[in-house]
């Protein structure tokens, strides 16, 4: 499936994400990591922490509705893979990010933004993993 090259909207979206990460650090003193938000919600500890994560998640989930109101349409989500691929891939992602300590948001944006050696290593590694599995899935197995 061919997708359109969108350097401008992608850079604009990225800048909003970078702004959100900066604001969360400025106001709440925290790294914006999707893994950390979900992981923390699954382990109710400090009540203040839990409600903060729940509010972040609620805001994220509300985003498609905001776009629907602003632009009149839902964001485009095209899924070119099978249901088993989504389920197996999802479980593998969850297992991996737990041990890796973060994903594209926590390591890829926040960690790299403060030049953390761990995050730079993690980012290069998960990008390499994704290149490898897309190559295998699309060109060797030919799914």
């Amino acid at each position: 499936m061919i997708t359109e090259f969108t350097p401008l909207t992608s850079a604009l979206g990225g800048m909003l994400v970078g702004l959100a990460a900066t604001l969360l650090m400025a106001l709440h003193g925290r790294i914006f990591g999707a893994t950390g938000i979900v992981g923390g919600l699954l382990r109710p500890g400090d009540r203040n922490d839990w409600t903060l994560r729940a509010a972040l998640l609620a805001g994220m989930v509300a985003a498609p509705t905001l776009l629907l109101v602003l632009t009149g349409q839902m964001p485009q989500i095209q899924v070119p893979v099978s249901t088993p691929a989504i389920l197996i891939g999802g479980a593998v992602v969850g297992f991996g990010v737990f041990f890796g300590g973060g994903c594209t948001s926590g390591h890829g944006i926040c960690g790299n933004a403060r030049f953390s050696r761990r995050s730079i290593t993690a980012t290069l590694t998960f990008m390499a993993g994704a290149f490898l599995s897309v190559y295998v899935m699309r060109h060797l197995i030919g799914a």
């Binding site: 850079a11 990225g14 709440h28 297992f95």
Partner: protein, 144 residues
Amino acid sequence: MRLLSAFLIGLLFGTGILIAGMANPAKVLNFFDIAGTWDPSLAFVMGGALLVAVPGYRLVLGRPKPLFEHGFQLPDTQRIDRPLVLGSLTFGLGWGVAGFCPGGALPALGTGRTEVVMFVAAFVAGLLLARFTRSLVQTRLQAA
């Protein structure tokens, strides 16, 4: 105030992710498919994010404390260990299979699409399985 601010920051993050195309698996997978239908857009997402976050973090972390809290919560370890590398490699392999990453899937949940709900459910299951695995290994190590 504190929770409203977190909600709005989450909304900003989610809107950015959706505009950027990070929540669209077709676009994400094409970024990694250099040998096929390559779409380099996602490089611009990370570029744009870092363009703001690098100076933003520098400015913010130079201040004594965040507005609503007593201090910044930053990871204190700098060690590059096996869990970091193997875990990240595993994440990448799964990302290339499913096309969603956690930061892309959470905002996409709001569309109510079945594929997103399935991915997030499987992601949570994987996270819980990893947590269980680690506690099992730690118990074994303590017993040995």
